[in-house]
């Protein structure tokens, strides 16, 4: 065989990414009796899921028995400005409670109600207190539970192993090509089914809550083999990231602060969110401070505080306050829980926020307000998948979690990500295993294909280039932050595309020093390929959607346009060019549609 020069492994299913979705997918695939490998860029248990703070949304009805999947479904669709894939939103709302209970069966310990059940907390856009949580470290609890469960399931784990390209045989995905970080040596995986669970794209922006791994690898891998990406224009800027000191700018401040009673204030001390209630949410939002404060304890008599409007609304309001000169000293706004809850409650409910501000900013959140501002947080867009099976448009390829598109529409509600990971992670593992079982025995990987990828990866060592990968990355982040940020317009998006073309050309001249052993400069040079691909997809999709909806705000088209409400923007590779088109949304059946009419 021609590919003997590379270390080669053969599996039925490979899962790329070991956050919540990847771990859950691997557990499920392995439970179906197929040979499963889990491949991750970092050490096991370090994936971005550990940073999730507030909780996992599931209509358990433990705090409000009125809650059920229909209400959760409705909240999710309205939060996504009705652009969600309705079937994904339905499956998610229906299956999330069982996935939460399953985590408990595997050892997770959620905070409890007085009668010993799983406690649920309030979060933006959720009608009832719905987020199962562990203080403000829910993601850690989830990843550790899944990790500890997975290590006994006979899954082969490849840690610190980065996948750079997917392999194809004819039209179907049949494996992946990557390298070991430790040695820099290449490795080939042959597989009957490939699950992408690589997370998001936030590292293309300067101010971000995302870790170094979030370079859009899965999006770029899928795009590279011709799979469709949808909704790439929708990038969520979480309204509350730290703004000071400069070196921690962007680190997340959980929405749980507001869920537990914290409120946003401007420099004048005004609770400004009351001035930014959009028509779409007016009927369900409190108009006075008294009503908003009453809502925390009595949801029947009061409507939800505007501090907990969906994230896109809150982020835009904060930007507007800062623009109007009513921001905080370091260019954010204030988030105050100190004057609203006692120190003991704050420390018990929000221990890592207390810790984070104390250690990184010298701020005691039980005594002083926090300073916060928007930070790039989450990609709603991603690989287009079949709702039930998570199958991408390329046979043999599946996607779950943040890398998949459709579930969250134009904007994701807080808490709906952790539940998305386990609901669709499980489905991806299940259907990838089924697909693998149906697939014929062996296939060949074209040796020429492998050689070309390897040569491309090694170019930064060999070419006489003059670009530093860190400098190109910094300039890419500046470009995306300024030109493809929260508020967009046609001129800036076109300028961004021009700058991205220049950056792409500069990436071709990147040179790295040293050798292949654990060389972060070289790793970044390869990650730049993914980041540039997704950045271009976001900019092109944002240019195509000539309206403002959810997380996508166009100052030149400030309103929602019903015609754009009927389509997804689809990005796909045609030859070597990126094509952008509008394609109709899947149509919601009438029985679900009625949920929106009844509950106006």
């Amino acid at each position: 065989m021609a590919d003997e020069k590379y270390e080669t492994h053969e599996y039925d299913v490979i899962v790329i990414g070991a956050g919540g979705a990847g771990l859950r997918a691997a557990i499920e695939a392995s439970a179906q009796g197929v040979r499963t490998a889990l491949i991750c860029k970092s050490l096991l248990g370090k994936a971005h899921t550990v940073m999730a703070e507030g909780g996992i949304a599931a209509a358990l009805g433990n705090v409000y028995p009125e809650d059920n999947w229909q209400v959760h479904f409705r909240d999710t669709m309205r939060g996504g400005k009705m652009l969600n894939n309705w079937r994904m939103a339905q499956l998610h709302a229906q299956e999330a409670p069982a996935r939460v209970v399953e985590l408990e069966a595997w050892g997770a310990l959620f905070d409890r109600t007085k009668d010993g059940r799983i406690l649920q907390r309030d979060f933006g856009g959720h009608r009832y207190a719905r987020l199962a949580h562990v203080g403000d470290r829910t993601g850690l609890e989830m990843i550790r539970t899944l990790q500890q469960h997975a290590v006994h399931k006979g899954i082969d784990v490849f840690m610190e192993c980065t996948i750079v390209r997917l392999l194809k045989e004819g039209e179907r995905a049949c494996g992946a090509f990557g390298y070991w970080r430790e040695t820099g040596r290449f490795v080939v995986f042959k597989a009957k089914a490939v699950v992408l669970a690589t997370g998001g794209i936030g590292k293309a922006w300067k101010i971000t809550s995302n870790s170094w791994e979030y370079t859009g690898d899965g999006h770029a891998l899928a795009y590279g083999v011709g799979a469709d990406l949808i909704d790439m224009e929708f990038v969520q800027f979480h309204p509350t990231g730290m703004v000071w000191p400069p070196s921690v700018r962007g680190i997340l401040v959980t929405e749980g602060v507001r869920g537990d009673g914290g409120t946003l204030k401007n420099a004048l001390g005004e609770r400004f969110m009351f001035n930014y209630i959009p028509e779409f949410f007016r009927a369900e939002t409190a108009e006075t401070e008294a009503e908003a404060d009453g809502w925390y304890t009595d949801k029947k008599k009061n409507r939800r505080t505007p501090d907990l409007l969906p994230r896109d609304e809150v982020a835009r309001a904060i930007v507007a306050e800062i623009k109007a000169g009513r921001g905080s000293p370091h260019g954010g706004v204030f988030l105050d829980i100190a004057s609203r809850r006692d120190p003991e409650t704050i420390k018990r409910r929000l221990p890592s926020m207390y810790h984070q501000f104390k250690e990184l900013a010298d701020v005691d959140i039980t005594k002083q307000p926090m300073e916060v501002g928007p930070t790039c947080h989450y990609a709603m867009g991603g690989v287009r998948v079949d709702a039930d099976t998570t199958a991408a448009t390329v046979p043999g390829l599946f996607a779950a979690g943040e890398v998949a598109g459709g579930m969250h529409g134009a904007n994701r509600l807080g808490g709906n990500s952790l539940s998305d990971l386990v609901v669709f992670g499980r489905r991806a593992g299940l259907y990838a295993a089924e697909y693998a079982k149906r697939s014929p025995g062996s296939f060949t990987v074209d040796a020429g294909q492998l050689g070309a990828i390897a040569r491309e990866c090694l170019e930064p060592f060999e070419r006489g280039g003059d670009e530093n990968p860190y400098t190109v990355h910094r300039d890419l982040q500046e470009c995306m932050q300024i030109l493809v940020g929260i508020i967009r317009n046609e001129g800036e998006l076109k300028k961004a595309l021009e700058e991205l073309a220049v950056l792409r050309e500069r990436q071709g001249r990147v040179r790295v020093a040293g050798n292949r052993q654990y060389n972060p400069g070289w790793h970044l040079a390869m990650d730049l390929h993914s980041m540039l691909t997704v950045s271009e997809a976001v900019a092109r999709a944002a240019l195509e959607r000539k309206e403002s909806r959810g997380a996508h705000t166009r100052e030149d088209y400030p309103r929602m346009d019903p015609t754009f409400g009927k389509v997804n923007v689809v990005v796909r590779r045609v030859g070597d060019a990126m094509s952008v088109s509008q394609e109709p949304l899947p149509q919601m059946p009438d029985d679900l549609r009625r949920l929106f009419e009844e509950s106006k």
């Binding site: 096991l44 370090k46 408990e104 310990l109 010993g116 870790s211 070196s247 680190i251 052993q517 970044l524």
Partner: protein, 249 residues
């Protein structure tokens, strides 16, 4: 903006030395920011691990001026202005390159700890009932971010290479304590704690507790109660006699 001088250990399994770098520092920076600046300006290939930069993933542990710390949570303003700062890899684990060490020992131990086994559900809907006060202690253990700084400072692991086969280390005493005290878990692991995990080798110097960035009271809340359980089950003369008489193991 002032400059700072940093000495970073660079090398691999074959050997290495400290290299000196000078980089600008701004208000609020942490040691990890300084390392990133060195990477960006002077040494693209400086190897280090990091993920979240917010003290939640436990990837960026190193020895800063000799103290094991998460570099992302170590503010530069704790040092005297003008002081040269030294950053070295965790000493206990084999070097891979620069600040990156081979921590695979920890993942091997993790595999040997039997999985959580829950009791049957308490309610017909498949759920359980647990009181908050019964899980507070276990939640403390589950705060562990697996930075392995406790493993790094534990002198049983650090100074006695041969003991690694018979000693799990503080991180896994925390894990075992968590399972032992979990209200739903039905497994018994005291035999394991004594034999494979080797808890008897710990002489409670509390080095692990001191370096824990999550402030888990490893010695007081995990190790000592485990030691007591081992004593109760394996060395209690009454239990021993009963076992002899009743023929139970």
């Amino acid at each position: 903006m002032a400059d700072v001088t940093v000495r970073v250990w660079r090398g691999n399994a074959q050997g290495g030395a400290f290299h000196e770098y000078r980089v600008p520092v701004e208000e609020g920076m942490v040691v990890l920011d300084v390392l990133h600046r060195i990477q960006a300006i002077h040494a693209n290939d400086l190897a280090l691990r990091w993920n979240c930069k917010a003290g939640k993933c436990g990837s960026c542990g190193a020895e800063v001026n000799g103290h094991p710390r998460l570099t992302c949570m170590t503010r530069m303003n704790i040092f005297t202005p003008g002081e040269t700062i030294t950053v070295a890899p965790m000493k206990t684990f084999p070097i891979i390159k620069d600040l990156v060490t081979d921590v695979s020992f920890n993942f091997q131990v993790a595999k040997k700890i039997p999985a959580f086994q829950s009791r049957p559900p308490d309610a017909p809907d498949g759920s359980w009932r647990m009181m908050q006060e019964d899980i507070d202690r276990v939640q403390e253990f589950r705060k562990c971010i697996e930075c392995f700084l406790c493993q790094n400072v534990c002198h049983v692991i650090r100074d006695h290479e041969g003991k690694k086969q018979h000693f799990a280390g503080p991180r896994f005493f925390v894990r075992l304590a968590e399972l032992e005290m979990h209200p739903l878990d039905t497994g018994t692991r005291t035999g394991l704690v004594k034999e494979f995990a080797g808890i008897g080798l710990c002489n409670i110097t509390k080095c692990c507790t001191e370096v824990c960035p999550e402030h888990i009271r490893i010695t007081d809340n995990a190790i000592i109660p485990l030691k007591e359980r081992v004593v109760d089950e394996h060395y209690d003369p009454v239990v021993w006699l009963l076992r002899k008489v009743l023929g139970k193991r």
